[in-house]
């Protein structure tokens, strides 16, 4: 038996000894997702969108019709669960993670774990705010006062930032007063006066609320009495508001802004600030307002 080099058995004639793992063969194994799969995923996504909107509207309907206020967390848990399902569908099929290399999914999951940590540590921080020492107690003005902008306005004189000082009034109150003064001044001008008198102020206030309720009527919505409408201009307005009068209805109970009051099931976070001034207007000052309420 003579063996020559030509007798060496080569099982695969395509074998390239310079590329033993055949890495140079070009593209292979890219998954092409079928058109029906994509269509089914789209229909599922549209279905879940309709479901989450339907459940949310259903909750409003239940509230309006039966006067049952469902707990707020129910709304959040349902909406977020549906969102997670939708996001999984988009990630797995539209973004192709299901057919992709595992590494891409791992990156995504690690990132989501980081997001969970982020939310978790923030939540336990907020949840433990009660036990923070009183050293940091200050009296915050809800919504900000615009003071910071006043101070910086001189250094960065830019037309973009509104130079306003609200005299430590919440900005919402400030804007309300601002508009009321404007309307009172307009009433005074119409009657040839320079300074608005009490009559002008009352007429201005009536006009202020007429604009508010008219906005709802224009949109074809049922206007409800605004909680800041102290003089109940709702009932003094022209006829087309009269049959919408729901003043007889009790307003939905809201937790006191001061924070220590009862928590309604419709609001998710019971705020009992032991740290003075952190959640409330400050316990030192709260007694001024709280004292009459506790008499009842």
């Amino acid at each position: 038996m003579s063996h020559s080099i030509d007798d060496v058995h080569i099982p695969n004639p395509d074998f390239d000894p310079t590329d033993p793992h055949a890495t140079g063969q070009g593209h292979h194994g890219h998954h092409i997702i079928s058109a029906p799969t994509l269509m089914i995923v789209l229909l599922l996504l549209l279905f879940f969108t309709a479901l989450t909107v339907g459940l949310s509207r259903g909750e409003v309907w239940v509230q309006d019709t039966f006067d049952i206020i469902l707990p707020n967390w129910l709304n959040i848990i349902i909406a977020m669960s549906i969102s997670v399902i939708k996001a999984t569908l988009v990630g797995a099929y539209f973004m192709g993670l299901r057919f992709d290399k595992a590494l891409n999914s791992i990156i995504m999951l690690v990132c989501l774990a980081a997001v969970v940590c982020f939310l978790f540590f923030t939540a336990i921080d907020l949840g433990n705010r009660d036990s923070v020492s009183a050293v940091r107690a200050t009296v915050p003005t809800p919504g900000g006062t615009g003071e910071g902008l006043d101070k910086t306005a001189d250094r960065f004189s830019t037309a973009l930032s509104p130079r306003i000082s609200t005299n430590r009034m919440p900005i919402t109150e400030f804007r309300r007063t601002e508009r009321l003064n404007e309307l009172a001044l307009k009433q005074a001008e119409d009657h040839g006066r320079i300074e608005p008198n009490d009559e002008d102020k009352a007429a201005g206030e009536a006009e202020f609320w007429r604009i508010y309720y008219q906005g709802y009527v224009d949109k074809g919505k049922h206007p409800h009495r605004h909680e800041h409408d102290e003089h109940n201009y709702f009932t003094k307005l022209p006829d087309h508001f009269a049959h919408h009068d729901d003043d007889a209805l009790e307003p939905v109970s809201r937790p006191d802004v001061a924070g220590v009051a009862d928590s309604s099931p419709n609001f998710s976070f019971r705020r009992t600030g032991k740290t003075p001034g952190l959640f409330s207007e400050g316990s030192e000052h709260a007694s001024d307002h709280a004292a009459p309420a506790s008499d009842h």
């Binding site: 590329d19 996504l45 988009v90 539209f94 990156i107 976070f269």
Partner: protein
Amino acid sequence: MATIDAPNPDIQATGAQTHPLYWKNRGFAHHFRNADEQFDACKLGMWLFLSTEILLFAGIFCAYAIFRMLYPEAWAAGSHHLDWRFGGLNTVILLLSSWTVASGVRAAQLGNNAALIRNLVITLICAGLFVFIKLYFEYIPKLSAGKAPGTFFSYPYAHDPHEPLWWSIYYIGTGIHALHVLIGAGLLIWVLVRAIRYEAYGPTEYTMVENSALYWHLVDLIWIFLFPLLYLIH
């Protein structure tokens, strides 16, 4: 080894097919062993970038959660100012565009340039519609009524003193999202131009379609969470 950087002589020497960007004329960088490896590396990079994008939005979602826990009344009052019909319509538009862009990737994988162009055009129309609805029916009426963020707030009928904070979160969340819609549309226009001019994408060369599509899906993914948080939960 099938590294082909020069135009393939087998292809008829007419029009786009001689162009170096024509998909059959593309090779891969010398430091990769093959085109597959280059594709996987590009995609890995894209996923790393997308994870940083998710962390960017996580900051906004976290701020939403904090202020929602602290001021639930302001959040309830604020979300009543939003119309779920515009939010819902925009959700449907984004889901449709996500589907067309996924179909576009499929068309590129199958070498169907016409279908790729068709799908990209529909996606871009959806992007335009989304931004139009956002601006014309939501941002402009709200801003002109004074429902603006922070100290720019001048709406006189607020129910809760913390409502300016709600508007800050609303404009930051939807604004950065809308910016992403515009950037994604820009990427898809780039892809579209290359597809029309050079037939740049085919079964062995569609990295740019794939990665732009991934970006577009991320935009959709973020909106899937923003929509219920802002419009539906109250």
